[in-house]
């Protein structure tokens, strides 16, 4: 068992942006919420699911909505308790720990806030080990687990219980509901036991996020060898280093799509194009896909080592394009069918890069 203290908040937030792969929302707000929670309730216990009673119920939690709305209208702090109490009531059981549904962006930190408020430990893990934009894109779906029972609550106290025939439908209904809730809601789905999580979940991903953040911070402090250590830990490769020369954004069907073009710093004849749908999905060099979803593509400033969210990109930034492998489960035929390039509408197959081969 480890503890998350005030000293860990900054590192967690840095790791959260790396795993957010451009999306998931700027964790700034979640960072303040987490600091408030730790100041009020003390350090937060983080547990391995394997150390819990295998039959113990985990309470999955995530913040859903549009990051641009959440920075205006953020939670009142009671939503998570409402959805989780509803869940416990429905199942007739009491949860033993809070389970993060997603690890990337705001959702790397938010479940810790919930754990502090409920006085429960937080599981060291999640259902993806990166940010994904849809509730059915999880290792749990790959394992055949259902999102049902799923609950959603808004800031006003409305809450909705979903019993759906499949996880894709759960996503559609939750999305429609979140819009009516003013584009910000707190969600629980995939209630599972600790034993199931050990078998199917992304165990250790909270620690992974924290350790990535620590290594990014070492790079920012200019410690010798820190960059190599950061890349080694993430099994990451720098696939391109260039200057941002163009960024184009547009919205279609609820997706913030965009294209970022980088010109290589040393060889101006080379250019990389990163395709974005909320997250960075595909990196092309000269029309050839170099890195593809579900592997992670993260842009990080060459000078300051600040990992970038899509909203923070601007002309002239000098960026490394990092490729990081997704968990092996995502590289299986089922994993690629669920979250490979074709699942996001690209007419191309998954392309393994060095670290993912």
């Amino acid at each position: 068992m480890t503890q998350i203290t005030l000293d860990d908040v900054e590192d967690l937030a840095l790791g959260a942006v790396v795993l957010g792969t451009g999306g998931g929302g700027d964790p700034y707000l979640a960072k303040i919420m987490l600091r408030e929670a730790i100041s009020r309730h003390g350090p937060i216990e983080v547990v391995d699911a394997a150390d819990l009673d295998p039959d113990g119920l985990l309470l999955p939690i995530a913040l859903v909505g549009a990051p641009t709305v959440i920075v205006e209208k953020f939670p009142n702090g009671g939503e998570a308790e409402q959805v989780l109490r509803a869940l416990e009531g429905h199942l007739g059981r009491t949860g033993v720990a809070v389970l993060p549904l997603e690890n990337g962006g705001m959702n790397s930190l938010f479940p810790l806030v919930v754990a502090a408020e409920l006085g429960l430990p937080c599981v060291d893990g999640d259902s993806i080990r990166r940010a994904f934009p849809q509730i059915e894109l999880t290792l749990f779906t790959l394992a055949g687990l259902s999102t049902t029972p799923m609950t959603l609550a808004d800031v006003k106290g409305n809450y909705v219980f979903f019993d759906t025939v499949d996880n894709a439908m759960a996503e559609k209904l939750a999305r429609a509901c979140a819009v009516e809730m003013g584009m910000m809601a707190v969600m629980s789905a995939y209630a599972i036991t600790a034993g199931e999580f050990v078998e199917y979940g992304a165990n250790g991903s909270l620690t992974y996020c924290l350790e990535i953040g620590r290594r990014v911070r070492a790079v920012q402090r200019g410690e010798p060898g820190a960059y190599e250590e950061f890349l080694r830990y993430c099994e990451a490769e720098v696939v391109f280093t260039g200057k941002l020369v163009d960024i184009e954004r547009h919205t279609t069907g609820g997706w913030a799509r965009g294209t970022v073009t980088l010109e290589h710093l040393d060889d101006p004849a080379r250019a990389m194009r990163v395709e974005i749908q909320n997250e960075n999905l595909i990196a092309f060099e000269d029309g050839e896909a170099k890195v593809t979803v579900p592997d992670l593509i993260t842009l990080i400033d060459t000078e300051t080592a600040v990992p970038m969210t899509t909203e923070n990109l601007a002309y002239g930034q000098r960026l490394h394009v990092l490729a990081m492998p997704a968990l092996p489960q995502w590289h299986t035929p089922a994993g690629l069918a669920l979250a490979g390039p074709r699942a996001f509408g690209y007419d191309l197959d998954y392309v393994p890069f060095g670290g993912a081969r």
């Binding site: 303040i32 641009t68 209208k73 702090g77």
Partner: protein
């Protein structure tokens, strides 16, 4: 002659004043050291430039000053603020000032309340405004605070609750308690906007003080000119507005310098390097305005959503110390404002980049003979160091590979070489040392819109037009010549993760001031 403008820039080291005519021609220039009581420097600079022109011809005075930022940094002269957030039940998880440095929060925090109200992203009410709670809040503030900040959820899209709450507070407490509304001082991002509103309210005495003092200075010279302060984006705020919204003027220095460079060079797209005594700042002019940073800036440790010029700074200035032993080492330390007595060419004993510049034939300042005896190889090596750094700086700020012109400004501009790889031409100007005051003098007025719009594809153009017209109207209200207002920024940021075409739209319109009379 009529229509003269005085531009004043108060920096950390110098207070500069210039007079320009309505065509932008520089008629008088004065540079003086910034004084402990900043107004003494302003008084001296204004007196000096007025000896060179007919004071009766001066119709406008523009000031860019570090007063407000210093007040925040030193936690001095700040007012206690009553803080009202219109949001409940949303946002209760993070109270106002949660992320502030505790010493600053302790100075500023008066009475705090979060009440029911606020709007959804599309402008509808989350809850009706709790008017009873607003009145109660106002009563609780009486005699406890000196100013009030009111911030409502999504107020940039719908300011109705902020306006109504402000009216109730003024009705209850009277005009002696100025009210800052979030939508007047910030865009989307509740915490950042609330921070800006609270800082603005805390600066009420500073804002009023600057405007009143400048007014006094003008009275002593019997000037009846209109007073403006320059804002962070390089455009102007009229005196009465500036006294109400000092936060909007808090970072205008670098912007003024770059706007001055654009004016002196006549270039709209260029690299600008401002070489001072200690550091060199490089920025990029795009369409005559500085390119702004993608990152939100902090003011005295408080996060805001203001965008400041995107600058890269390095330790390279006229006062940067050069050491020959054991091997060539340049800076990062500098003799700073003591350059005029400590540099070799000025009779001092410290070898500086100014000495190197004189020996390399780039500058003609001080007495060259006093620096004689420095090995030519050392001069070559040091000037080579400078040229490498300048080249890297110029390249780093550029967005694309094509060559761009470069404007050299600041007191140490002589250090910049005449030819730089990647730079098409280096522009210099005799008044480059006071580019910041010139930037203030030639500043224009602006109007901005920053709010969320919902549009289907067919209505997108109509929404953008609506935003543009609102920005143009705001610029004209601020004093712009209606016939010469232009749109300088249209930024459309789609909202991720949910259906329906919604976007945050930021538009800015800018135009020259209407001539008085």
């Amino acid at each position: 002659m009529t229509g003269l403008r005085i531009g004043i820039d108060v920096g950390g080291t110098n207070t500069d004043a210039v007079v320009v005519d309505s065509g932008g021609l520089v008629l008088a220039v004065h540079k003086t050291a910034t004084t402990p009581d900043v107004l003494d420097g302003i008084r001296a600079a204004v007196a000096a430039v007025l000896t060179e022109v007919d004071p009766a011809a001066v119709t406008q005075v523009m000031l860019g000053t570090t007063h407000p930022i210093n007040a925040v940094i030193r936690r001095q002269d700040l007012a206690k603020v009553g803080i009202l957030r219109i949001a409940a039940p949303a946002t209760l998880s993070v109270p106002p000032l949660a992320d502030w440095p505790s010493d600053l929060a302790d100075v500023v925090r008066g009475h705090v309340r979060i009440i029911h109200g606020g709007h959804e992203y599309e402008g509808s009410e989350i809850n009706p405004l709790d008017e009873v709670a607003v009145r109660a809040f106002a009563e609780e503030c009486r005699d406890q605070v000196a100013a009030v900040a009111v911030t409502g959820v999504t107020s940039p899209a719908n300011p109705d609750h902020e306006l109504r709450a402000a009216r109730i507070i003024t009705e209850t407490l009277g005009p002696a308690y100025p009210v800052t509304m979030g939508h007047e001082v910030g865009g989307l991002g509740l915490l950042e906007r609330e921070n800006s509103a609270v800082l603005n309210a805390a600066l009420r005495f500073v804002g009023e003080g600057i405007v009143n003092a400048l007014d006094q200075v003008l009275r002593t010279h019997r000037l009846t000119a209109d007073i403006f302060l320059t804002q962070n984006d390089g455009t102007l705020l009229a005196a009465a507005e500036a006294a109400r919204k000092p936060i909007m003027t808090i970072g205008s220095g670098p912007t003024n310098s770059m706007r001055g460079a654009a004016h002196l060079s006549g270039l709209a797209d260029a690299i600008v390097i401002d070489v001072g005594g200690t550091s060199a700042d490089v920025g990029l002019l795009v369409d005559g305005f500085p390119r702004v940073s993608a990152m939100a800036v902090e003011i005295g440790g408080v996060r805001t959503n203001y965008r400041m010029p995107d600058l890269i700074s390095i330790g390279l200035g006229g006062g940067t110390v050069v050491r020959a032993e054991p091997e060539l080492a340049v800076g990062p330390d500098s003799v700073g404002y003591q350059l005029v007595n400590r540099a070799r060419v000025f009779g001092g004993d410290t070898l500086t980049l100014s000495d190197i510049s004189v020996l390399a034939g780039r500058a003609d300042i001080g007495d060259r003979d006093r620096a004689a005896g420095i090995a030519p190889s050392l001069v070559d090596a040091a000037i080579g160091w400078v040229d490498d750094r300048i080249q890297v700086l110029a390249d780093r700020i550029k967005a694309a590979r094509r060559d761009l012109p470069l404007v050299a400004v600041g007191g140490g501009a002589h250090l910049i070489p005449g030819s730089i790889p990647g730079v098409s031409q280096v522009y210099r100007h005799e008044h480059a040392g006071v580019a910041n005051a010139i930037g203030a003098a030639i500043a224009e007025v602006s109007g901005t819109v920053d709010r969320a719009f919902q549009f289907s594809d067919s209505s997108r153009e109509a929404c953008l037009d609506q935003a543009k017209n609102a920005a143009i109207d705001a610029a004209v209200r601020a004093g712009a010549d209606p016939g010469r207002v232009r749109i300088t920024l249209v930024n459309e940021i789609p909202m991720a993760y949910l259906p329906g075409a919604s976007a945050r739209v930021q538009v800015k319109a800018v135009g020259p001031l209407m001539e008085r009379r």
